[in-house]
């Protein structure tokens, strides 16, 4: 089922995508499928296995179901400190 999600990109991923945030229509049922689509489309440089994902501001499983108006953030390997 088609839904609209807001996607947030950070750091390397943001640069590769060319924007920090976008709204997209998608049929993807889970963040994993969504990222797979985006990665293929925009040739994003990091695999899902190397990343975590957050849905609506909290860490989530890659296989959680996506809903209309969800915000999905892909979290590249972190490097604080």
């Amino acid at each position: 089922m088609s839904k609209t999600v807001t996607i947030e990109y950070f750091a390397l991923l943001r640069e590769a995508r060319g924007c920090a945030r976008e709204k997209r229509e998608t049929d993807a049922a889970t963040p994993r499928v969504l990222y797979g689509d985006l990665r293929a489309r925009f040739r994003l440089p990091i695999s899902a296995e190397a990343m975590r994902v957050a849905v609506n501001g909290a860490f989530a499983s890659w296989d959680v179901p996506l809903h209309d108006n969800d915000t999905v953030a892909f979290i590249p390997p972190v490097a604080g400190g």
Partner: protein, 580 residues
């Protein structure tokens, strides 16, 4: 307590937060920027975070540390943005009864932070390279001007990015006389009832209904601003002026035109309704009524309300302070004439005029030569501006140093290059809440960039949540052709003749040709691949200088409510992007 900050970390103020009478030890850790990494000379680090989640995860780690170790308090602050060598990037403090727990908790926090909190850093190297740390082997971003590696995006994505990432400025208290056009940040409410007394609405006589058809003695006269405390009795009347307070007991005002006055008495007309020509106290506005709300635009009518209710100052979202930095060594000194291969600056004066037109009063001007040092100085000078507009130096030439200068300044570049004409190499970045626009040096590119992207950002900063004005439609007077792979924004002349707009596209010889379009007052958007439009066809267009949002107009009533049961489908229009 876990915090993110864009300013320098001052350890003493943070360690004060760890204070506890039960603590005999305070262990602190400071992570600093060193001048080398993996054998390469490092000049600075640029940190970014997924701020909401970073704070949540940071707090979780601090909670875990306090559970695992017998510690009293734990504080961690992490800096974001550009940080130079020697500066502190992260500060952690843990107080505990004994030193062992304090040390252990401190180490636990920094270890967990490095592996779990969504914060990223990019190393800027002395040789101009830059790379994200920990992003994986073989991941490498060429050149310090990391904006160069950004993908080109379409004009709609670019505009939503500008709107979505721009937050209103913090409200301030402004004198009512300076508040016109600002966005309210407090409710405006009636300090007392209006009218504040029973007000005569006509020149005439305040009368009792018992006297209708009979005569009443004129006991005196009440002008606007005057008053009578005595209660009106049957058989007595006062001559009263429009706006004057009616004496207590008045039941109607008989207008002077119908009340015949003879020998100190008035003949009261026989047909007079209760309350006629009297505005009763509080009938227009009860005390405490809210007449305008946060988010409403301060219009002249709102000013009238503020004045009526005794406001001298009001809380409102201010308009941003803007700085314009022109770049390029080809620009002639303002005072001297241009050399043979120099040009006079058109962009600086044009941007000042565009800002004036947008009602931005607080403006700064600067100029920089095409080198990093000069740009760094100009950016430093503009440090108090909410919005920095740079023109020129944003393309891909050898002297186009704006992207590199912005990255080195710690600006987070959100996009660079948009599939549009004019103005493809448009750059947008943020540093904290401050916005940076790199506008191309060609005046028409700067002009379009301002109208399409800077203006909506200025409105969003100023707290305008209302949608922009929808495009109008006009009849083309000549052919209009798009370009293949970019969205064309074609300047036009729009003229209102015989009840319709007539749109004449003004073809120009490139993005520097301000001459052919000097009298343009509108633009038409042509998407890539769109079929050519011919004379006689109607096209949507945007009037320059009138793109601003409408005033909020209060809470709209939904169509079914005022159209009855009949379903109402609004005419399809171009999508309006609403800020926020």
């Amino acid at each position: 307590m876990f915090r993110l900050t864009h300013t320098a970390i001052e350890p003493s103020s943070w360690s004060a937060l760890c204070a506890s009478p039960r603590a005999g030890a305070l262990a602190t850790f400071e992570g600093r920027v060193r001048d080398h990494d993996g054998g390469r000379a490092v000049t600075a680090l640029v940190y970014e975070a997924y701020e909401g989640l970073a704070v949540d995860e940071g707090e979780r780690i601090l909670g875990e540390a306090l559970e695992r170790f017998p510690a009293e308090a734990a504080v961690c602050v992490h800096r974001l943005g550009r940080i130079d060598v020697g500066e502190t990037a992260v500060w952690i403090g843990v107080s505990a009864a004994h030193r062992k727990a304090a040390f252990a908790a401190c180490e636990y926090i920094i270890d967990e932070l490095k592996s779990r909190v969504p914060i990223w850093k990019k190393e800027l190297y002395a040789d101009g390279d830059a790379a994200w740390v920990g992003a994986g082997r073989g991941v490498h971003v060429p050149r310090a001007g990391r904006a160069c590696s950004l993908r080109m995006i379409d004009p709609d994505t670019a505009l939503s990015l500008v709107r979505d990432t721009t937050e209103p400025l913090a409200p301030v208290r402004v004198p009512v006389r300076d508040a016109l056009g600002l966005t309210l940040a407090e409710a405006v409410w009636a300090d007392r009832a209006y009218p504040p007394f029973d007000r005569a609405m006509m020149d005439g006589y305040a009368v009792r209904l018992a006297d209708a058809g009979g005569a009443a003695r004129v006991a005196g006269e009440i002008a606007a601003g005057g008053c009578v405390d005595q209660t009106l009795e049957d058989g007595v009347t006062y001559a009263i002026m429009t706006g004057a307070p009616c004496p207590p007991g008045s039941e109607a005002v008989a207008p002077v035109e119908v009340a015949e006055r003879r020998n100190g008495a008035v003949h009261v007309p026989s047909r007079i309704a209760p309350g006629e020509h009297i505005a009763r106290m509080g009938s227009e506005c009860a005390a405490g009524t809210v007449v305008a709300r946060p988010g409403d635009r301060i219009t002249p009518l709102v000013i009238a309300n503020l004045a009526t209710f005794g406001y001298t100052h009001v809380r409102a979202v201010p308009k941003p302070v803007c700085a314009v930095i022109t770049t390029g060594s080809e620009l002639a000194d303002e005072n001297g004439g241009p050399g043979p291969f120099q040009i006079r600056d058109a962009n600086g004066p044009m941007l000042a005029a565009l800002l004036d037109q947008a009602g931005i009063r607080r403006q700064m001007r600067g100029h920089a030569a095409d080198n990093l040092e000069s740009l760094r100085a100009a950016l430093e000078e503009a440090r108090h501006a909410d919005v920095v507009l740079l023109t020129g130096g944003v393309s891909a030439g050898a002297y186009d140093v704006v992207p590199a200068a912005l990255a080195a300044h710690g600006v987070d570049v959100l996009f660079h290059k948009v599939t549009q004409k004019p103005g493809k190499p448009l750059l947008f970045g943020k540093m904290g809440t401050r916005l940076f626009f790199g506008l191309p040096g060609n005046p028409l590119a700067t002009h379009l960039g301002f109208h399409r992207y800077v203006l909506p950002a200025l409105w969003a900063l100023a707290g305008c949540a209302a949608p922009p004005q929808p495009p109008r439609e006009g009849c083309l007077t000549g052919e209009l052709r798009g370009v293949r792979s970019r969205t064309l924004f074609q300047l036009c002349g729009a003229v209102w003749i015989d009840g319709a707009w007539h749109i004449t596209p003004l073809p120009c010889k490139g993005s520097a040709d301000i001459f052919s379009v000097a009298t343009a007052n509108a633009y038409v958007r042509v998407d890539p691949g769109a079929a050519p439009r011919h004379a006689g066809e109607y096209v949507p267009f945007t009037m320059l200088g009138e793109e601003g949002p409408y005033s909020t107009g209060g809470t709209p009533v939904s169509p079914p409510q005022y159209l009855g049961k009949k379903a109402h489908t609004p005419r399809a229009e171009r999508p309006c992007h609403v800020a926020g």
